[in-house]
């Protein structure tokens, strides 16, 4: 019974203290002083990144939506109407739409995390601030990977269009 209580208390302590412990492990004294001393400047820098990312997100999603709705879908329709094999085109368009939706959702999560990090009192909670920054950093990396996947899908669609040229009967 006593052993069970000790295990339970230890587990709770690990759960409660682990984020701080991991941040403490990553932060050295010099970094801790830097965060405490430059809190306002850090928050300002994060705000700039936040705003630049908002513009980037807005421009990228507008471009993706335009490419899908104004170019891909009309060409897909046209291929189907002409009874040509559009399987590859339809599948790439579908994958792209899913990735763009994933990008939107990932951005939403990242934006919340970055905003909450900016709102943190880094002068008095440097460990929590750094831990939150680490999460935002990982989420931003995830966004970068999604953008790369989207670019790959755009290239794949372009290759499929290239493959249409010999089928149209005229040499490239």
């Amino acid at each position: 019974m006593k052993l069970r209580s000790i295990i339970l208390v230890s587990l709770c302590a690990v759960l409660v203290l682990s984020p701080r412990a991991s941040a403490e492990g990553l932060l050295n004294d010099a970094q801790l002083r830097m965060i405490r001393g430059n809190c306002a400047a850090l928050r300002q820098s994060l705000t700039k990144t936040h705003d630049a990312d908002a513009v980037l997100r807005s421009n990228l999603t507008a471009q993706y939506d335009d490419i899908i709705s104004k170019l891909m879908m009309p060409l897909n329709n046209r291929l189907v109407q002409n009874k040509m094999d559009a399987t590859e085109f339809l599948s790439t368009t579908d994958d792209l739409q899913k990735k763009v939706a994933e990008f939107r959702s990932q951005y939403s999560i990242y934006e919340r995390k970055l905003s909450s990090t900016i709102d943190m009192d880094c002068a008095n909670q440097p460990w929590d601030f750094y831990q939150s920054l680490g999460v935002a950093r990982d989420q931003r990396r995830g966004l970068g990977n999604t953008v790369h996947s989207i670019n790959d899908l755009l290239k794949r669609y372009r290759s499929s269009v290239d493959g249409l040229l010999p089928k149209t009967g005229v040499a490239r």
């Binding site: 050295n28 010099a30 970094q31 830097m34 965060i35 430059n38 400047a41 850090l42 820098s45 994060l46 990144t49 705003d51 630049a52 990312d53 908002a54 513009v55 980037l56 807005s58 421009n59 990228l60 999603t61 507008a62 471009q63 993706y64 335009d66 490419i67 709705s69 104004k70 170019l71 009309p74 060409l75 329709n77 046209r78 291929l79 109407q81 002409n82 040509m84 939107r104 939403s108 934006e111 750094y130 920054l133 935002a136 950093r137 931003r140 990396r141 966004l143 970068g144 953008v147 790369h148 670019n151 755009l154 372009r158 269009v161 290239d162 249409l164 040229l165 149209t168 005229v170 490239r172």
Partner: protein, 123 residues
């Protein structure tokens, strides 16, 4: 005569005043509830996060590109070499705007960028 009429009308006037107050209070309460629901939807749906008309985006708003003028590719007609080439030209023009742009993989949040790079302990 007039006094008697006023006396008889007094309860009706009081009731209609009460009704008017209830009506105004009801309308105001309902509109406040509707505004609260709309505001919550605005926040929870994530629209607030990308609403570039917010005052906090005032400095960067002009960097948002609006391109509503470009026409869509025709969704009907034949598919021949010139149509495909025309599509490729439009497609490349659009995708070239995206791919060279700085994406989210730059190190804007890295310790180095934020001036938090760990300095090696003094020997």
């Amino acid at each position: 005569m007039i006094d008697r009429l006023r006396e008889r009308a007094a309860p009706y006037i009081a009731t209609s005043r009460q009704r008017f107050i209830v009506l105004i209070t009801g309308v105001l309460s309902l509109s406040m509830v509707m505004v609260a629901i709309a505001f919550n939807l605005y926040r929870l749906s994530g629209v607030e996060q990308v609403d570039m008309s917010l005052p906090r985006y005032q400095n960067v708003r002009q960097q948002v590109v609006h391109d509503d003028q470009t026409p869509a590719f025709a969704s009907s007609g034949s598919v021949n070499d010139s149509v495909v080439k025309d599509f490729i030209a439009q497609y490349d023009a659009r995708t070239n705007k995206i791919t060279p742009v700085q994406d989210f993989s730059n190190n804007a949040l890295s310790d180095e960028s934020l001036g938090l790079a760990a300095t090696p302990p003094a020997q």
